[in-house]
């Protein structure tokens, strides 16, 4: 029996809220477990610093991820470097694990397009802001890989609200029809800005939507990184195997909670109460993994302190790096719209460049 042969509401769990083992612990050595923990701490610390940078006017609007580290880091840890990640806009933690430097994420939210230019050896798609619109991309990209006889798998992230969008349906439906190596990973964090999960669908679970597309669906505790890792690993194995006796695509619903606001422009106290937030904070994925690793004798106070300080240093370095980036040259505004600038665009660029030479940046730039 595989993890996919269970009822949709039979949530896969490995650690309970206190870090006690209640399921099958995936086969990970101690160093990997500590690295997973370190990345979760890194994502959490990064998130806090990013919100604070926004508050200080050093960064634009930013979507926080705190509470969602278990789903992001757990799933991304299961990927091979050759696998592809197709994110929405909140997967800074997952992208980090898959090789995207923190500096890139900072730059993007600081308004630099370069932040979206992942290094060539990092298989991460650009951030997709319109909800669910990246779902068909993940299907198409995986389909291309399959048509070319390659063996890569693709993971696509989106939220609970996205499952109401047409593009979710179309993207997952195509994946079912063409049996593409795609994992649709739904970060069900309970709230689409202010609209609760219950307003998205009458379905009891989001995982069960897989049934309609003829693919596998599974619900996992998204605040249990080991459960997420195990489920994602099983889905990846199936995705990579063209001879599998199950559909290659999988819909994973990772049940979790966004501790903070939708973005720094949002005030969640308007639509949800503290009691609910506290209830979910008791399920904190970081505490849970830490407790388990301490019980196993893998982590102790000293190790945790070392991780804390290394994480703080790494984020501080990334912020220094991002903030030391000069404003891009004005040519950058024009030169990536097409492979070659059309003549009229070239003229528009030259006119702006000439005016800037004449009047100086002070005539353009707001304080």
């Amino acid at each position: 029996m595989t993890v996919f042969d269970r009822a949709y509401d039979d949530t896969v769990r490995v650690l309970d809220e206190d870090g006690e083992v209640v399921g099958d612990v995936p086969d990970l050595d101690d160093d990997s477990l500590v690295e997973m923990y370190r990345h979760m701490r890194l994502a959490r610390h990064f998130d806090g610093r990013a919100v604070s940078l926004q508050r200080q006017g050093r960064m634009g609007t930013y979507p926080p991820l705190s509470g969602q580290e278990g789903a992001q880091i757990g799933s991304a840890y299961a990927l091979d470097a050759d696998d592809w990640m197709v994110p929405s806009y909140r997967e800074h933690g997952a992208a980090l694990v898959h090789g995207l430097p923190l500096k890139q994420t900072l730059l993007y939210w600081m308004g630099h397009e370069d932040g979206n230019h992942a290094p060539d050896d990092v298989n991460v798609f650009p951030v997709a802001v319109p909800i669910a619109s990246q779902v068909p991309h993940a299907t198409g990209a995986a389909w291309a890989s399959k048509l070319r006889g390659e063996n890569d798998a693709f993971i696509c992230y989106f939220g609970d609200g996205a499952t109401s969008e047409g593009d979710f349906h179309e993207g997952v439906n195509f994946a079912g029809v063409f049996d593409t190596p795609t994992i649709f990973f739904c970060n069900n964090n309970q709230w689409a800005i202010s609209v609760p999960r219950e307003r998205q669908t009458r379905s009891a679970t989001l995982a069960q939507k897989a049934e309609a597309y003829g693919i596998d669906g599974v619900q996992v505790d998204g605040m249990d990184p080991l459960a997420v890792y195990g489920v994602t690993t099983a889905a990846l194995e199936k995705a990579r195997d063209p001879d599998a006796d199950r559909p290659r695509p999988t819909l994973i619903e990772a049940v979790q909670y966004r501790f903070g606001a939708h973005t720094t422009a949002d005030d969640p106290t308007v639509y949800r109460d503290d009691e609910e937030v506290e209830r979910w904070k008791a399920k904190d994925p970081i505490d849970r993994l830490e407790s388990y690793l301490r019980d196993e004798g893998v982590l102790d106070d000293e190790r945790v302190a070392e991780i804390e300080s290394s994480v703080e240093a790494r984020v501080a370095d990334a912020i220094d790096e991002a903030e030391s980036m000069a404003r891009p040259d004005v040519r950058e505004l024009f030169e990536h719209a097409y492979a070659e600038m059309p003549p009229e665009l070239q003229r528009q660029y030259e006119a702006l460049a000439a005016l800037r030479d004449d009047r100086g940046d002070a005539a353009f730039l707001e304080e």
């Binding site: 197709v86 979206n116 230019h117 068909p136 593009d167 195509f174 990536h336």
Partner: protein
């Protein structure tokens, strides 16, 4: 001497797809009814049999899915050629076109490019049901990052389609279905391209420049011939590419004549006619001898066919428009 075939425009489109499928394994054709059925206009006839279902792909009926999965394929380096069966059905895929197809290169600073060509038959005049006759090319011309191509002859349809498929940037390729089978032309069997971004002069004349494209090229030439008999000589310029426009050719024809008329079947307000007029104002004001005329579709939803002949610019309306510019 290369071998040629005498083809209609839609046959030339088919021949262009055939040639590019043969030339490049990364080219795939995908959409509703493009496979076994060969396309509702026969634009993909026989391709499924020759290249198989992994190259000529019948997809679910879902325009956003068709465009969106093609975006994903193209981001991985393939050259998908999705078809939307009628341009009036592109709107469910509009978000994918304007939020992603046009922006992927800019968004990723050139790491991901989308060498994809989205084909759709467009335009009126074939007595079709509602939503089958629209001309919405201005939507796409307004969107930076896209190129928009409209052929008007079989030879150029094949060459422009090949150029679009080989282009590193995404192209919206709008096929004027009114003239899909209107006439035949010698089309070389071998691969060739016709450059994107270049207009073509269809008729030389010193009195007035008339700018048009797609299915309106024929009534415009007909009006020009009629007026020629009255010694009013029209320079007829077929734009061929709507974005980026061939500003040089547009300005040159205007400077030669000092008078201009734009003809398109899309509604007048917000159409390409306004853009061309603005280009002439910017670049050649001192040559202008008369108001620039626009002979266009009316600002109404495209009618059912009992009234469509009044809606579409006819040779008579075009003649009148040209006369107004000439007699000013």
């Amino acid at each position: 001497m290369t071998d040629t075939q005498n083809l209609t425009l839609v046959q030339a489109v088919r021949d262009g797809l055939h040639t590019e499928l043969r030339e490049d394994d990364d080219v795939v054709v995908m959409g509703q009814d493009v496979g076994k059925n060969g396309g509702v206009f026969r634009a993909t006839e026989g391709l499924f049999d020759e290249f198989g279902g992994d190259r000529v792909i019948d997809t679910p009926l879902a325009e956003s899915g068709i465009v969106g999965t093609a975006v994903g394929m193209a981001a991985m380096g393939m050259r998908p050629v999705p078809e939307i069966q009628f341009s009036g059905f592109m709107y469910p895929g509009f978000d994918q076109i304007v939020s992603h197809m046009s922006r992927f290169r800019a968004r990723s600073r050139g790491r991901f490019t989308l060498p994809m060509t989205l084909r759709a038959p467009y335009g009126g005049g074939i007595r079709a049901p509602e939503h089958h006759s629209e001309s919405k090319e201005a939507f796409y011309a307004h969107e930076a990052g896209l190129k928009v191509v409209v052929p008007s002859t079989p030879y150029e349809a094949k060459g422009l389609l090949a150029a679009s498929i080989r282009d590193p940037d995404p192209v919206i390729f709008l096929e004027p279905k009114l003239i899909y089978r209107a006439f035949r032309e010698a089309v070389p069997e071998e691969p060739y391209t016709v450059p994107i971004g270049e207009a073509a002069t269809r008729r030389e004349g010193d009195d007035v420049a008339v700018f048009t494209y797609g299915a309106m090229t024929r009534p415009t030439l007909e009006a020009a011939e009629t007026l020629g008999e009255e010694e009013i000589e029209c320079e007829v310029v077929d734009l061929r590419t709507i974005s980026p426009l061939d500003r040089e050719a547009i300005v040159e024809a205007f400077e030669k004549t000092g008078r201009a008329v734009v003809v398109h079947e899309a509604p007048k307000t917000g159409g390409l006619g306004g853009e061309i007029t603005a280009i002439l104002q910017e670049e050649a004001l001192l040559h202008q001898e008369a108001p620039i005329g626009r002979v266009a579709g009316f600002d109404v939803p495209y009618p059912l066919y009992a009234l469509e002949d009044y809606y579409l610019p006819s040779a008579a309306r075009i003649e009148e428009g040209i006369l107004e510019a000439v007699e000013f």
